[in-house]
């Protein structure tokens, strides 16, 4: 499986994103949810729908997702081995994430393809959420 990467340096979380990253240690994908009902990613100190700074919490994503858009990267960047798929992934919860679709057939991934969540471990115990094509 060509994941594309990546000995990339993922920065330390900040005070807002820490819960999101901590959950990845347990392989749980969180989505920030406001008491007004709005969901957003990446996590912020305020809700971009209602402006509230209180009432922001977390919901755990089911892991179901579809490809919103994707591209096969064919030029080598430091830490990555092309070809690999970079995708905008739409979670069932509604938000878009940038991620990789991990597959041996990068050219076969297309818009609307169903995906399931997988994880790429990081050296410090955190993990990056990545996605795998769902067998149809």
């Amino acid at each position: 499986m060509n994941a594309g990467g990546g000995q990339v340096n993922v920065p330390e979380p900040d005070e807002v994103t820490d819960p999101w990253w901590e959950a990845t240690r347990e392989r749980r994908l969180l989505v920030q949810r406001c008491s007004c009902g709005h969901v957003q990613h990446p996590p912020r100190v305020l809700c971009t729908a209602c402006g509230a700074t209180e009432g922001l919490g977390w919901t755990e994503a089911s892991g179901a997702a579809v490809v919103d858009a994707c591209t096969v990267v064919r030029r080598a960047m430091p830490g990555f081995t092309p070809p690999y798929v970079v995708a905008r992934v739409r979670l069932a919860e509604g938000v878009l994430l940038l991620s990789n679709v991990v597959t041996d057939e990068p050219g076969a991934v297309g818009i609307g393809d169903p995906l399931r969540l997988d994880w790429r471990p990081l050296p410090d115990g955190r993990a990056l959420p990545v996605f795998v094509p769902l067998e149809r």
């Binding site: 096969v72 970079v86 940038l98």
Partner: protein, 381 residues
Amino acid sequence: MTGVAIAGAAESDLGVTGRSILGLQAQAVTRALADAGLTLADVDGIATTGVSRFSATQLAEYLGVRPSWTDSTFAGGSAFEMFVARAAQAIEAGQCSTVVVSFASNQRSARSRSLGGVVEAHTPEAQFETPYGPLYPISYYAMAAQQYLHRYGGTREQLAEVAVAAREWALLNPAAYRHGAGPLTAQDVLAAPEVSSPLTTADCCLVTDGGGAVVLTSLERARDLRKPPVRVLGYGERTTNTSMTAVDDLTVTGAVEAGRDAFARAGLTPADVDVAEVYDSFTITVVLTLEALGFCGRGEALDWIAGGRIRPGGDFPLDTSGGGLSYCHPGQYGVLLLVEAVRQLRGECGARQVPGAEVALAHGTGGILSTHATVLLGVDR
């Protein structure tokens, strides 16, 4: 309409120059001032970006100017169209009288461009996007192209027409990097190495050195200067995103509102535009922008540009210098859109001149379809 005009315009050396950023900046500024019949002693406003953290400050000191107004808004390639708007406002408000808007880069000579772009470690993108290895900005435009072709059923060959037409214009422009390269075909574009699917190297702008400058002053004063004034008729802008996931629909950009505001300010419609200089960072950028600005309907651009409409001699002269695709792309190309628009309106473009051009549009796009700014320019009637 505004009471402000562009009185001077010039390029710095272009291509592979071996020169420094400030050296190229000084070339562009002094040449634009000479074009206007002005000198550095007249300059009391400076707008630039891409020099350093203190861009306008740095340039002001280098030029020996103590400006009463500066702007260093960092908005990628669209910054210069934004600068025109802010300069017009500052001149009309009386804060300054003569503004130089400039840019220069030596990115090709200095080999300073990286495939992943520049991502600062404290930004959300560094935590949530960079770890997945997107090329910046190419992968974002690639995904926009994929969504566009998927939704509207266009082909890669149709998209290539943007690059093919740009080359046709470059063949008419002796200053163009690809002037001597010969024609480009759609098959050439498709056969070029793919960088981030579906875009190939031929869908991507050049990486060159280069720069340019325009000089703005009041219309009244510009009428007494060396060259015919080019009026600033209208402007508009929108800022939409820094990340690759903030914009829900990749095929609809902030150029919709930027253009609408610019046309409303100018009291014009897209049908009034005689020549359009639209940022062509990638072929898809032009397709999305033409639709957003209202030159054709949504999903119609690929059919609309077919048949030579945007090539020399076509009824919609577009990116007449050869554009970022075949003329020059120093990284933040927007200032050169203004330079070409001014020259077209003055009738200075030789073999590539659009006969009788009276209204020109310059539209800058920055980042990953992040910032969008439209300027409408016209001859002084």
